[in-house]
């Protein structure tokens, strides 16, 4: 597999430790950035690279950094968002587990560029085993002079702390994450003010995803322009895709942006096709929050072009016939998968994870779950399907944070593309249940 950037050297035994990582070219980018470049030059390289936020929204990282309030005399903070809880997404976990130093390296350079002296890694509570790995890596970096006071003899000092959350999905939203980091209830804040002006403890703060920050090291090593050459159009570089579902080879893959979706699903290098050689039914390409697409629309756009793994191509056709790259949680469903059951399962998750602060999300997620439960459990009515569409529409865009949208999109898209299946559940509930029972016995 060529073209690996983030996961390069991942197969080297012992790469998790400092010595092996260092002897494989680790921390050279830190030396380069701190010794040869200025803050502005590092930011310029990141700008040139066209790196976009890998947490889901795909916001240009350089632009986000430029929003940071540099006039303020308050301390600045960099927070690494490692609260990866999106169903279907497990790329950050993999990266931190195998290459913790890649993240630390990115954090040092980013902090240098932003003028940050304290950096936090907010990690999901369920990733408890990773806390030890990261803290060991931080300790090693301290020992070898890459963290602490006067790094590499320059004026730049930095400390990194790992902070485990209590395992709430909502704390992956950047302002809820900051609240939680401050020790409060993890409720998203009302924006504006944005974290770039008033973030952690009211100070200017940048919050970036693990994968985004990890990519900063390689960008400095190879140069922003060289990084921008990889990929396609505005989707530059490589992306970690965590593939799961009914496929032959589930796992985390680093792909070059612009790879056709069809190749990704069927190539033996990646997913290797559908398990048991069944037919592809649907794909959620970017973590459970993004709209689901049926097989024909995920392989080619409504215009008939080949669908590529880029931010633009997947979003082609907007919500009518498109979806989003999101966080790269690639969930594949085969012909036997029940979309209704799956949608119910997702709404159950969002109902459980809604913080309950604003009314559309608090009440709407619960309502959708209850209605879908009824449809799935043989008590559905035809009018319920339109009711779900209406509730999803009322939630979408009217909430404080994007969790409302994330809960509404899967339901709206599932009904848009698989309405027949919902109707089938309402009209022939017994038959649907029988079919599922049959499948359960089979596997």
């Amino acid at each position: 597999m060529g073209g690996k950037i983030l996961l390069a050297n991942i197969d080297v035994p012992g790469i998790r430790g400092y010595d092996v990582y260092r002897s494989n070219g680790g921390y050279t980018s830190v030396e380069k950035a701190l010794r040869e470049m200025t803050q502005a030059q590092v930011t310029a390289e990141v700008n040139k690279s066209g790196l976009r936020g890998r947490g889901g929204a795909g916001f240009p990282t350089g632009l986000k950094w430029s929003f940071l309030d540099r006039k303020s005399d308050k301390p600045r903070y960099l927070v690494c968002n490692a609260d990866e809880s999106e169903p279907g997404t497990f790329k950050d976990r993999y990266l931190m587990h195998h290459l913790p130093h890649r993240l630390i390296e990115g954090l040092i350079i980013s902090s240098f560029a932003l003028g940050v002296k304290t950096c936090y890694i907010y990690i999901r509570g369920e990733f408890k085993y990773l806390v030890g790995i990261l803290e060991k890596a931080i300790k090693e970096a301290h020992l070898h002079g890459f963290l602490g006071e006067r790094i590499l003899g320059t004026d730049f000092s930095l400390n990194i702390y790992v902070h485990p959350g209590a395992g709430a999905y909502i704390c992956g939203e950047e302002t809820a994450l900051l609240e939680s980091l401050e020790g409060k209830r993890g409720n998203p804040r009302i924006k504006p003010p944005f974290p770039a002006f008033k973030g952690l403890y009211g100070c200017p703060t940048v919050v970036n995803n693990v994968e985004t920050l990890a990519a900063v090291g390689p960008i400095i090593s190879m140069g922003g322009e060289a990084y921008a050459m990889i990929g396609k159009g505005k989707s530059t570089g490589t992306k970690l895709i965590s593939a799961c579902g009914n496929i032959k080879n589930p796992g985390v893959y680093e792909i070059e942006m612009g790879l056709p979706v069809e190749d990704f699903i069927y190539s033996p290098e990646y997913c290797g096709g559908i398990a048991n050689d069944k037919y592809l039914k649907a794909v959620i390409p970017g973590g459970s929050s993004v709209p689901i697409l049926p097989a024909d629309l995920i392989l080619s756009t409504a215009k008939g072009e080949k669908r590529l793994m880029t931010y633009e191509s997947l979003a082609d056709g907007d919500f009518e016939s498109g979806t989003m790259l999101g966080s790269g949680g690639f969930i594949v469903y085969d012909e036997d998968a029940c979309i209704v059951r799956n949608t119910w399962n997702l709404t159950r998750f969002y109902r459980h994870e809604s913080c309950g602060q604003c009314s559309p999300c608090r009440e709407g997620t619960g309502w959708m779950e209850k209605v879908l439960y009824r449809i799935e459990h043989r008590q559905g009515k035809m009018s319920d399907i339109d009711l779900l569409v209406r509730v999803a529409k009322n939630i979408e865009g009217n909430t404080i944070c994007p969790l409302g949208d994330a809960a509404a999109w899967p339901v709206a898209s599932a009904i848009r593309h698989f309405r027949v299946e919902f109707e089938e559940h309402v009209l022939h509930p017994a038959a649907m249940l029988e079919k599922e029972r049959h499948l359960k016995l089979k596997y």
């Binding site: 009302i190 619960g366 009322n394 009217n398």
Partner: protein, 322 residues
């Protein structure tokens, strides 16, 4: 000064004013309803989403419309901003949806609720609610609890506006209650019953937009529209002592703070005034309190009207007679 236009009415406001407060300066029908925002409580607002409005011009510099509806209580005004509230069908539709969400788990027990007649949610449902319910799901249920000696918490009715939490945070030294759990099972609660004993805790009852927090000294005594609200005051060492006494004949049924036309307290009052002083001799009665004539409480309530506002058509419609 920044110029903002709300429903085709322009006004100049100071920098940092929110859309909601600008609308309140205009007054009348352009004011979006607010269930969670409370001007006296810092940090409140943005939660209920009933005050969502459409911004069709972001500012004079950037005439593009904002992509989503924005919460008017937490969005500051920009110069040249054009806002649509009731003139936008999208806003009305969305507000109907929000009211539906708020009522989804609300027990609708208005006939036995002490808040009926002065309930913000009732007004809101009257304005924007649907005629029939679309849900057949069971409503969530919580047991009723006493959170203080004098305060009853009826969690079923709560719309989680967080006002009482902010009140306790900002008026008392140690907050003893808060929001527990999350999502649609989150609730207001204390870890220990009867724990709330702070001197100003009674104000939670007044800030509550619904009947979730009620005064135990007044529960089931009378419907509010049978009582006459009178301005009264006394010398109180703890608070200003300016209250509204709700009277029937010469008997005081309950004491609340004085509320302005948006249902917000003018001043917070102490628990002694609120719960202990129920004798008419404790108070100096000033006269009848003004009640909006649209309110059900104004029935059989007589007061002298300001003549000027009656003859001056520019001063506003009947509605803005405060």
């Amino acid at each position: 000064m920044l110029k903002v236009t709300i429903d085709n009415i322009s006004i100049e406001v100071e920098e940092g004013t929110t859309i909601l407060n600008a609308a309140r300066m205009i007054g009348g029908k352009v004011v979006p309803p607010a269930m969670c925002y409370y001007s006296k409580l810092k940090g409140s607002g943005g939660k209920c989403r009933t005050c969502l409005v459409k911004v069709s011009h972001s500012s004079a510099k950037d005439p593009r419309p904002m992509g989503k509806l924005v919460a008017s209580c937490s969005t500051p005004v920009q110069d040249g901003m054009v806002v649509q509230n009731l003139t936008s069908p999208e806003v009305i539709e969305t507000r109907k949806g929000i009211v539906e969400f708020l009522l989804l788990n609300h027990p609708l027990d208005c006939p036995v609720c002490d808040q009926a007649g002065e309930c913000d949610l009732q007004d809101l449902s009257f304005g924007f609610g649907m005629e029939e319910t679309a849900t057949e799901e069971e409503r969530r249920e919580f047991p009723m609890i006493d959170i203080g000696e004098k305060i009853k918490l009826h969690m079923n009715r709560c719309i989680l506006c967080y006002r009482c939490v902010y009140t306790a945070d900002q008026l008392t030294e140690k907050r003893l209650h808060g929001v527990l759990y999350r999502g649609d099972v989150s609730e207001i609660g204390t870890f220990i019953q009867h724990a709330v004993t702070n001197d100003f805790s009674g104000n939670m009852i007044d800030v509550c937009p619904v009947g979730a927090l009620t005064d135990k000294t007044f529960r089931f005594k009378s419907r509010v529209w049978f009582l006459n609200p009178m301005n009264a005051h006394r010398d109180c060492p703890a608070c200003s002592g300016k209250v509204t006494a709700w009277m029937f004949g010469n008997e005081i049924y309950r004491i609340t703070g004085r509320k302005d036309r948006y249902g917000e307290l003018e001043e917070f009052i102490c628990n002694e005034c609120r719960f202990e002083k129920k004798d008419i001799n404790d108070w100096v009665i000033e006269g009848p309190r003004h009640i909006r004539r649209q309110s059900v409480i104004s029935a059989n309530h007589y007061e002298e009207m300001k003549k000027q506002s009656l003859i001056d058509p520019i001063a506003g419609t009947m509605e803005s007679l405060t």
